[in-house]
Symmetry: C2
Subunit: 140 residues, 2 copies
DNA sequence: CAGCATCCGTTCTGATACTG
DNA sequence: CAGTATCAGAACGGATGCTG
């Protein structure tokens, strides 16, 4: 399912070729998929405030199911964005914290969350306006 | 045009309440879902370079199907991030361009794409290492 | 050209139940 | 506490055919 990427020699500054015909997405997809998935951003934002245990995370990220939290932190761990530490206590205790790489993402992620908050109302209004202009148009 | 955010009671710096128990995600989800979906970012990046017609977009965003492009631009239009203009020519001609709001997102999106490129290799290595440490663990 | 409608397999998610 | 396992429903995504 994942898109295979071919070696592309494009500098970070020049994003144009990426995703264009002949430049099969560079592999940004891989990273974007992670950043873009339903819960990663919220988890990262929470961890930006410090290490958290599993339950703490679940309580902090409202609405996330146990299963999804597990999957999310596992993926983040696999990508090297989050460090998982198991303490051999009884009952088991595990905490999660951002790695340096993960931390380097936080300001971007926060900026994104920030932008979201700042434009939330405007977007909500835009949606209402659109829906009013296009009655009976289910775009979701 | 700098990214100005409209009156937010909780300062942008303090994102903590969002997504926490009792603060049902504030609605960041709505916005994040858009930003985070499979194609939006790529479309936005492409439109950041100027107005594009439907076909141009499809060619530029490698791999996107007609259906997905349609859905993606519709959603972006609905959210007020993209402006759709129809020219009554024959055959029909339509172009898409970013609105100011949409444009204000490009910095963030580009920064994100940038970060992705910059950390692509590191993440790939982290994944390999993880997979080596956890044989037979299909995380996706 | 720029779509919309439909079919249909794949993936994602959440709820539920159980374990070390 | 911190998971794993399973299962069914929802959402996603592509292919195909048709229209103005």
């Amino acid at each position: 399912m994942s898109v295979t990427h071919t070696e592309v020699t494009a500098g970070p500054a020049d994003l144009d070729p990426c995703g264009q015909a002949g430049y099969p997405d560079c592999g940004i997809r891989d990273v974007l998929d992670r950043v873009g998935d339903k819960w990663s951003v919220l988890v990262i934002v929470e961890l930006a405030n410090g290490a958290r245990r599993f339950r703490e995370l679940q309580r902090a990220v409202d609405g996330i199911s146990q299963r999804m939290l597990t999957l999310t932190v596992r993926r983040l761990e696999r990508d090297g964005l989050v460090l998982r530490t198991v303490y051999p206590t009884v009952p088991a205790q595990v905490d999660y914290r951002l790695t340096e790489t993960g931390a380097s993402l936080t300001h971007l992620v926060k900026a994104l969350a920030d932008w979201s908050l700042g434009h939330r109302d405007g977007i909500a209004r835009a949606r209402q306006a659109y829906d009013a202009r296009h009655p009976g148009n289910e775009i979701r």
